[in-house]
């Protein structure tokens, strides 16, 4: 497989995953912003900006932070490289340059999403409401995944695509966890209502709300949430799940190029697979997450070095 093709496919998948993650985050922020301030709504609006590291950029362009400006910035703002519009555009550009490597169903799905998104952007958010836009983007994301899963050969192209998806997803989960943790620590009170909504928001932004209640009875607890989001073998957005998938994609890719990436990934996988929530708590969740993020970042660098700078 051409190195350039692998690179484009990988970044296509990362951009798509980024857009989908952002949609979840916006969805939750939007809901929270509708709540009275006492429940932490304003804090919630900040979350997408801190998680994506775009708070400064936002402040430069928008006079005030409210649900509307936040949505505008993250849905449609072209000057924001991290907006959903920019992510989908870049995913579509990457897909276009390697369209011969995607199945026609997968290509058409992403192309149609792009065309429709441009159309919706012209009409503006108010036309149909933020919620239905958000739902639509999520749906399109599912459709692309389904088309790719169901119609493409599960060969190198597919492996690089999933590689992009899982590294982006792992990064996203770790970041969200870290930011939420900071928010909750900064509030350091025992207001159960705020805690409740914060944990809820965290679970929802990782699509894990329902999973939590399937696995754990009783209320929301730090211990359980941590265990679920970091160590669960079943939750598709848990760190253990993402890193495990990353490992199996790396193993499936033909050739011996990716040895360094595989070694690093295997180490991390072992830590998560044999990890215990008590150990993490003892270690300090904050430091633990920072360490994880650093490792994920290094794996990404090694992927670059091995597969597209190697030849």
């Amino acid at each position: 497989m051409l190195s350039r093709t692998a690179n484009s496919i990988y970044w296509m998948a990362r951009s798509l995953e980024r857009a989908e993650n952002l949609t979840r985050l916006l969805d939750v922020s939007h809901n929270m912003s509708l709540m009275p301030n006492s429940k932490g709504g304003q804090q919630e609006l900040l979350a997408p900006l801190t998680i994506t590291g775009r708070l400064d950029q936002f402040r430069e362009c928008y006079p005030q932070l409210n649900a509307e400006t936040l949505l505008e910035f993250f849905l449609f703002d072209e000057s924001n490289e991290g907006s959903i519009f920019s992510c989908i555009q870049s995913a579509r550009d990457n897909a276009h340059s390697v369209r011969d490597k995607l199945s026609s169903e997968a290509w058409e799905s992403i192309n149609a999403t792009w065309l429709e998104l441009r159309h919706r952007r012209q009409r503006g958010i108010s036309h149909e409401g933020a919620k239905s836009l958000i739902d639509w983007i999520k749906q399109r994301s599912h459709e692309f995944r389904g088309a790719a899963y169901g119609t493409m050969l599960h060969n190198n192209v597919f492996h690089f695509m999933r590689l992009g998806t899982f590294i982006e997803r792992a990064d996203n989960t770790a970041r969200i966890l870290r930011v939420k943790l900071e928010v909750m620590e900064s509030q350091h009170n025992s207001n159960h209502a705020i805690d409740f909504y914060q944990w809820n928001a965290l679970l929802q932004s990782l699509g894990a709300y329902e999973a939590y209640h399937v696995k754990y009875t009783g209320g929301l607890s730090t211990r359980n949430v941590t265990e679920l989001l970091i160590l669960s073998a079943e939750l598709p957005r848990s760190l253990r799940y993402c890193i495990g998938s990353l490992m199996s994609q790396l193993t499936a890719i033909e050739g011996d190029q990716g040895l360094a990436a595989k070694r690093l990934c295997a180490e991390l996988q072992a830590r998560l697979e044999y990890g215990e929530v008590d150990f993490i708590t003892h270690f300090g969740l904050h430091d633990y997450l920072n360490d994880l993020l650093r490792r994920i970042h290094t794996i990404g660098e090694e992927i670059h070095r091995s597969y597209w700078e190697g030849a």
């Binding site: 497989m1 350039r4 390697v98 690089f160």
Partner: protein, 477 residues
């Protein structure tokens, strides 16, 4: 049914003659008569949406926003009876054979020049003549694995060759996509009519490209300038249909005289390059130094016979408009046969007597730049104003060798869906010819249509559209 505007009596129309409907169009015409116009209109919108969704587009240079455009697709097919097609096919094969012989000859013994059939300076000083190809031996002496021959019909219904495209002819993806669209929209027509299939073209193309190399299992790639190129859709389409990598210049490199591509498992040797990049951009070491599109060292690997280019380097000298008038002579010279397909009568302005005639009859003629393409840089005499005629008179006098002239041809028309209903519009036809161990064509080609009333310009870059081309087996004629 939608009203069909009658064609002008002095033109040849593919569907309607003065006696009524041509026999091979009878069945289609009956179907058309029974089809409500609202349904056609709806199919047209459906086709537009689908083409857009599939991303079957071409890129327009110099337009910032929305640079990917759809080529307008017309729902009404151009139909050719098998007997007529067979004759066309014979003519096209003959022509391509002679052109290939010509290319080998001028890069080797130059017998045709020594025999005085074509003026030597016309070939050797031609911008497209590549001295680098002198004495280079290509496997099977095959210079032009892929050609596209542009055909038109005049008002008597006779076919003429308008142009030979021997460099990187495009449009074959539209031929295939148009067919797919027609089968999707009008399955009932394909059930009742014997439309010859064209879908195996990519298989034939791959066979042709593979057969060009002596390697055991040759690695074939399609080389594209990238996704901003006007024909990028086609490049990606063909690579996908053949199941071969679509590469850009930067994906390839030359080492120890061989060409490799950069893959995720390390370098892999490339044997055949179906290149969709012009000669001048292929190798920055040999040609255009500023080009980022090509591969440094490619030319020397090619000359050493370590990689095949399709088409070969330097084929442009044979599809040049100044060489075109000599193709019938080539056929006689190399094949000792009479040409089956006619050339359009052509005045070569570098000849003094031709120039005099052209200057005297400018209002009746079409003047074309020898190296022009895409419908640019031409004068259509009967449509031109005083000023434009004067401008071309001056151009002709100052650089006659740069121009040829032809009579204004009455291109045949074919009923076409336009805003007002169905009306005759001028068309041409480009069949695609594959030359490997043998010459192969799929029965059909790309029919281009000039959508503006009265216009003769069918180029997509000038707003032309396309139609599906049906060769009807067992059709009455």
């Amino acid at each position: 049914m939608t009203a069909i505007e009658q064609p002008a009596p002095h033109l040849y129309d593919e569907m309607l003659s003065s006696e009524g409907v041509h026999p091979h169009y009878q069945a289609y015409f009956q179907w058309l008569e029974n089809t409500p116009d609202a349904s056609l209109e709806q199919k047209r919108r459906e086709a537009d949406t689908l083409f857009r969704r599939f991303g079957i587009t071409f890129n327009v240079y110099g337009e910032e926003e929305g640079t990917e455009r759809l080529i307008p697709f017309d729902l009404i097919p151009r139909i050719i009876p098998a007997s007529e097609w067979n004759q066309l096919e014979l003519g096209v094969r003959q022509r391509v054979t002679a052109l290939n012989r010509f290319l080998h000859d001028i890069y080797h013994d130059q017998e045709i020049l020594r025999a005085g059939i074509i003026p030597t300076e016309q070939v050797l000083t031609n911008q497209q003549f590549q001295t680098a190809m002198l004495g280079v031996d290509l496997p099977g002496h095959n210079y032009i694995p892929i050609t596209g021959v542009d055909l038109i019909r005049d008002n008597s219904g006779e076919y003429f060759v308008l142009e030979d495209n021997l460099r990187t002819p495009s449009g074959v993806s539209y031929m295939l996509e148009n067919r797919k669209m027609m089968m999707r929209l009008f399955p009932e027509l394909f059930l009742t009519q014997n439309v010859a299939p064209v879908e195996h073209y990519p298989n034939l193309l791959l066979e042709t490209l593979q057969s060009a190399s002596d390697a055991d299992s040759p690695c074939v790639v399609v080389l594209t300038p990238g996704r901003y190129n006007s024909a990028f859709f086609e490049h990606a389409f063909l690579a996908q249909q053949m199941g071969v990598p679509l590469v850009e210049g930067a994906d390839l490199f030359v080492r120890y005289g061989c060409v490799y591509m950069r893959t995720t498992t390390g370098p892999r040797q490339v044997h055949v390059i179906y290149r969709r990049i012009d000669d001048a951009f292929l190798d920055p070491l040999a040609f255009n130094q500023n080009s980022m599109l090509g591969v440094p060292g490619l030319l020397s690997a090619y000359r050493d016979g370590n990689v095949i280019l399709a088409n070969a380097l330097g084929t442009g000298v044979a599809d040049d408009k100044s060489i075109y008038p000599y193709v019938p002579d080539m056929i006689r010279f190399y094949l000792d046969e009479e040409p089956i397909l006619n050339n359009v009568p052509t005045w070569v302005c570098r000849r003094q007597e031709d120039l005099t005639y052209v200057l005297d009859h400018l209002e009746e003629l079409v003047v074309k730049e020898v190296h022009g393409a895409g419908g640019y840089g031409m004068l259509i005499g009967p449509k031109a104003g005083r000023e434009e005629l004067d401008k071309f008179r001056q151009l002709l006098r100052s650089n006659p060798a740069n121009y040829i002239a032809q009579p204004t041809l009455c291109l045949s028309t074919c009923p076409t869906m336009v805003n007002e209903g169905i009306a005759p519009r001028h068309i041409d036809l480009r069949p695609f010819v594959l030359s490997g161990n043998e010459i192969k064509l799929v029965p059909g080609g790309l029919t281009r249509v000039a959508l503006r009333e009265g216009s003769l310009v069918v180029n997509s870059s000038q707003g032309g559209g396309t139609k599906d081309t049906w060769v009807l087996e067992d059709a009455p004629c």
